[in-house]
Structures are given as structure tokens and as C-alpha cells.
Symmetry: C2
Subunit: 335 residues, 2 copies
């Protein structure tokens, strides 16, 4: 079924209000989660909302929490997220990083005790809208074995890089696992297999079955040892810069995604490069990529973020595709 964007947003907002969420925060969460589905990132939009409310109801999320400054030094700031809603906390910190970058050329904000930010690209798009490039990452609870390991010790710690390209933001938003858990959940809902092995089943064999991997949590790191190593470094950075929980600590304290640590870096590169020159360079890079000879006949190479606008327009026109079962569950939350 398809539900109009405005209706999705309004339903999410009203459910959040029943949980004691302040108006402004409910507005932000509803807008961003509805936007994620609108732009085709179904795994981190409407499909994640029931999970968010469950985390609020079990006391993992403090809907009144807002970031509190703990420490600052020039272009660095460190906040405690007060266990608040992940989306408003992250929007706040990205905006602070942008302000620091306006002043110092680059700004870094570290945030601890926050919750799932949903879609990493949200914060890159936010920085790009202000003309800045961004690098953000978060840790998660232990949901991925290290390379050579059998038990989940690493998070699949998403990493996001965004650049304000000549025809809209170019954004890479990637979990350190070959597939994100959101993508596995979506495939399970759709009854699809993954196109490549996603992890190990209970017999220790590689499998493309999302349900098996969701059960074992023995997901494959992207690029094998590479995703494993990068996930470790992102955890070290996020936990140490924020003096917050590491993946291991989150696992021990919660056994799920809560009280995570995040880092937001904004770069106002136009302070050292004429914006026109940077734009020309980006234009040329993207044009060259798009001129790729396709591997398969009739295929086409696209850049990350390129299809966002088209999907957005289609879903605005036709409504957001929502699984009926998911939507019924959300309506049952009261709002």
C-alpha cells in the first residue's frame, strides 16, 4: 500500500506525542523518518518506527533528553546526549559541527549517550544544504564478528561521507557489514534472498537468507578484513572522542542499540578553494563516472545519491510504499 507523505509524518508525530515527546523533537523525528521512506531508504524510515517506540517504551530512550555540552576546545565540542532521541540529538550536533566549521574551517562534535540516528545520510544532506562537506559515523551494539572471529564483537558502525555536488549532494552512507541489518530486515519482509552471501547460518555456512543472518548475527563485514578493521577504528574514534560507550560496553549494558557514541565532522572547504573551482572539479568527476562503459548490456553506472530525487518525486506523487502489516502496527501504537 502507499500512504501520502503528509499522512505518514502526521501519524508518526502523533504517536511520539503520546509518549511525552516535546513538540519540536516529535516534529523532527517524524519529518526525518518519513523523509527516509520518501527518499527510498525504507530500512531506516517507517519500517524502523515501531522499533523506536518499543525502545522508548522500555525506557532506553529519554524523549525529553537534549544534548548537554561537556567539554569544548576551539573546533572540537563534546556533548552528552542524555539518552535522548537519536535524530534530534544528531541534527543538533551536525549543526554545531557546521557552525564550528564556519569559524575554524573544520569542526568536530563528539556525542555520547545518544540513540540510533536512523539514516546517516540525513546529517550529510544537512551539511550539504549549507554548502559544507561532512564525515559522520556512529557505533552500534555488537552485531558483527571480527574477521576471523565467530561471535559478534564489533558493531557494523555506519560511516557517512557527503559532498555538496553540482546537482545535489553526493552521499555515501554505509554500514561496515556487507548488508545493513535494515536491509536484511527489509528483504525478510519482502521475502527476498540477498544478492550475495550476507553472513553465516546456524551451521556456520555462508548464506543469502536474511532470516538466518538476523538470527545468528554472524553478518559478513564488507570487504571481509577491511570492513572489520574499519569498524574497529570507527568504534575507537567514536567512543574515545566522546568518552562514551564502546560497542562492547553497549553490548554489556543493553544488548541492543542504545547509548551509542557518534562523531560529526563538517568541512567548510570553500574557505580555501574557490567554490566555482570546486564545483567544476566535482562536475568533471561525476561526468566521468557516468560515462562508464556498463558491465552489462543496458546497465548504467550511477553515483550514490543520484537516484534520491527521482524516488522522492515518485513517492511524493504516489505516496510512500508501506507494508500493510508495518503500517497497521504503527496505527495500533495510538496517536
Amino acid at each position: 500500500m502507499r500512504v501520502p507523505f503528509g499522512e505518514v509524518q502526521e501519524v508518526l508525530r502523533s504517536v511520539l506525542l503520546t509518549r511525552g515527546c516535546p513538540e519540536d523533537l516529535a516534529e523532527q523525528v517524524a519529518r526525518e523518518m518519513a523523509t527516509n521512506s520518501l527518499e527510498g531508504v525504507y530500512s531506516h524510515g517507517v519500517n524502523r518506527f515501531y522499533w523506536l517506540i518499543r525502545n522508548i517504551d522500555r525506557g532506553w530512550v529519554n524523549v525529553q533528553g537534549r544534548p548537554v555540552l561537556v567539554e569544548r576546545f576551539a573546533a572540537l565540542e563534546r556533548y552528552d546526549g542524555q539518552m535522548g532521541l537519536g535524530v534530534p540529538n544528531a541534527l543538533f550536533c551536525m549543526d554545531r559541527a557546521v557552525e564550528l566549521a564556519r569559524e575554524y574551517g573544520i569542526g568536530l562534535v563528539a556525542l555520547r549517550n545518544t540513540n540510533h540516528w536512523m539514516r546517516a545520510a540525513t546529517y550529510g544532506l544537512r551539511a550539504c544544504a549549507q554548502g559544507l562537506a561532512a564525515i559522520c559515523f556512529t557505533n552500534t551494539f555488537p552485531n558483527m564478528p571480527a574477521w576471523g572471529g565467530a561471535d559478534p564483537r564489533l558493531g557494523n558502525n555506519p560511516l557517512m561521507l557527503a559532498f555538496p555536488g553540482p546537482e545535489g549532494p553526493v552521499v555515501v552512507d554505509m554500514a561496515m557489514s556487507q548488508f545493513s541489518y535494515g536491509a536484511l530486515e527489509l528483504a525478510k519482509l519482502d521475502g527476498r534472498q540477498m544478492p550475495l552471501p550476507a553472513g553465516y547460518d546456524e551451521q556456520g555456512e555462508l548464506t543469502t537468507d536474511p532470516e538466518q543472518v538476523l538470527k545468528t548475527m554472524r553478518i559478513l563485514p564488507m570487504g571481509y578484513w577491511k570492513g572489520s578493521a574499519l569498524a574497529l577504528l570507527l568504534d575507537l574514534f567514536a567512543a574515545a572522542f566522546s568518552a562514551g560507550n564502546s560497542t562492547a560496553m553497549i553490548g554489556r549494558k543493553y544488548g541492543g542499540d542504545a547509548a551509542v557514541s557518534q562523531v560529526f565532522i563538517a568541512i567548510d572547504y570553500t574557505r580555501i578553494v574557490p567554490p566555482d573551482r570546486a564545483g567544476e572539479i566535482a562536475q568533471e568527476i561525476l561526468a566521468d563516472l557516468l560515462a562508464s562503459e556498463p558491465l552489462e548490456e543496458g546497465g548504467r553506472v550511477v553515483y550514490p545519491g543520484q537516484r534520491r530525487r527521482a524516488v522522492r518525486e515518485e513517492n511524493l506523487r504516489l505516496g510512500i510504499p508501506v507494508h500493510e502489516r508495518v503500517w497497521r502496527k504503527i496505527l495500533s501504537l495510538g496517536g
Copy 2:
């Protein structure tokens, strides 16, 4: 055969001097390239030296070139590398980023018109030795097809993250291809197949044969679409921040690795986090990782950089393993 570290360093230095290289730069290049082999990164040490001298001899490297400041704004600086030697240029820029980070908490230096920096980890180790974390990346000439593409349009743009861990630096240094070209060349020298498909052969089939992939340059991105997307963003960042060459421009102008663009970010996180606390967090993260249940009996999970010291000590004691053919070629360069 094995050659003592001091002898390797001295031979490289004396060859560089015959090419008109100033004493201090020859010293830096010889030290770092010998150290790369010493620490087991054979692909970017002695094995790359003949290639470097060839690039000097064909006029791609200006051995007298040193970075010139083009633009600065607070914590950002932009340099032109004057087509100089990649290693000294990159050491200089990493040191500048560290100095900026001392002043602003974080510093970013963008460098254009420089040459291959050899081993990305070199610069992370340099920042870690001063107690700072670092993120560095470089673009390269087009040597990897984009995901879904058949012709090389992207660089395999190495990315490096380093954190000064409690028992020495933890460093991830990874090309955006599943295997670096250095690793392919080394396997070819050793007559080994790669452990996983590395790219496509001339028939368009996936292959583990390094020689085939070196021929077609149709190397697989790490994590398929993920490495492809990340490589694109690193190129956008490196070329736009430095107002330098993009991968496509390098390909058009040189058809090989020359006049590349690089970015160096240093983070003095101890300005906002007590160093003891950060150290405890890192200690706990690494201990938890090392406690992984091994996937294979008798296996062991290690963290990136963990084996560096042991390899270094062994090679200091026994000499650096060098292919006789490679060593003879270097000796033939005159020095």
C-alpha cells in the same frame, strides 16, 4: 634473500642522491621505504623503489619540489606539492595538520600535485607518535571500474585511520579495491594466487590470478558497491579540497600515478577527553576484540597494526626479506 635494514636504507638513499635529490628528502624517502619493508609492508617498500626511480627518470617526480602554501583559513591549509617526492610532501603535510590540531583541536591539510605517498599508515603512525588520531586519504590514477562499470574510472584511493592505542598505534590502511595493486604485484612476484576473486580477466570472468587483474585493471572494489562509492567520495574530497587533480584528470594527463591529491586530518581529542579515560576505553575495546571466539580452531583475531612490532623485530634481527631480482634491479640503478 635478507638484507640488513641499515644497508637497504643506505642503498635507497644513495640511488636517490644520484637523481639530484636533496640530502634531507633522500634521507626521508629511504628511511620510510626501508621501514615499510621492515614492518612487513613489502608491497610499498623496497618492491616499489624501482618504480619510483623510473617515475623520477621519466620526469613525473621533481626531486627538488617541496610543498608551497596556496591558501589557509584557521584550521585548514592548502598546499601545492610542486610534483615533489610523495613521502616528504606527505610527512610535511601530516606534521602541519598535527600543528593545526594542537592549535584548533582538529586540523586539515589538503595537498595537490604530489606523488605516491607509498604506505598510508606512515602518516598515521606519525600522528600517533605525537598522541593524535588521524584520517588521511589520497586519490590515484583510474585503476578500478565503478560498480556496474567495465572500464577503470575510479582510483582505488587508499584511506587510512589511526588511533594511538594503549600498546601502540591501531591503524587501518586500506585501498578501496579488495586487494591493493601492491598486494597483487607481490603475489605475482611470489607466484601466489589471491585468496579471493580479485577482479576480472580478459574474458570478463572473476579471477584470483594477480597477473590477469594487473593486465585488465578490472579490479574488484572492496565490498562491491561500497568500495566503489567510497572511492568516489574520497576523490571528490581530495580533488575539491586541494583544487587538485581528480582521478579522471590524472588518467588523462599521465595515465599513471602522478600529480595526485591528498588530505591529512589530525585530531587532538585529548583536548576534550582526559587522556587516561580515552586510554581506558581503547584498552577495553581492544581487549574485547582479542577475546573473540576464533572462527577456525587454532585461529586468532588480531587488530590492525598489532603484528607490526613483531615483524619489525624479526626483520631487524634477520634482515629484510627481499626478492633477489628486485634487489639486483635496485643495485643496477647506480648509487
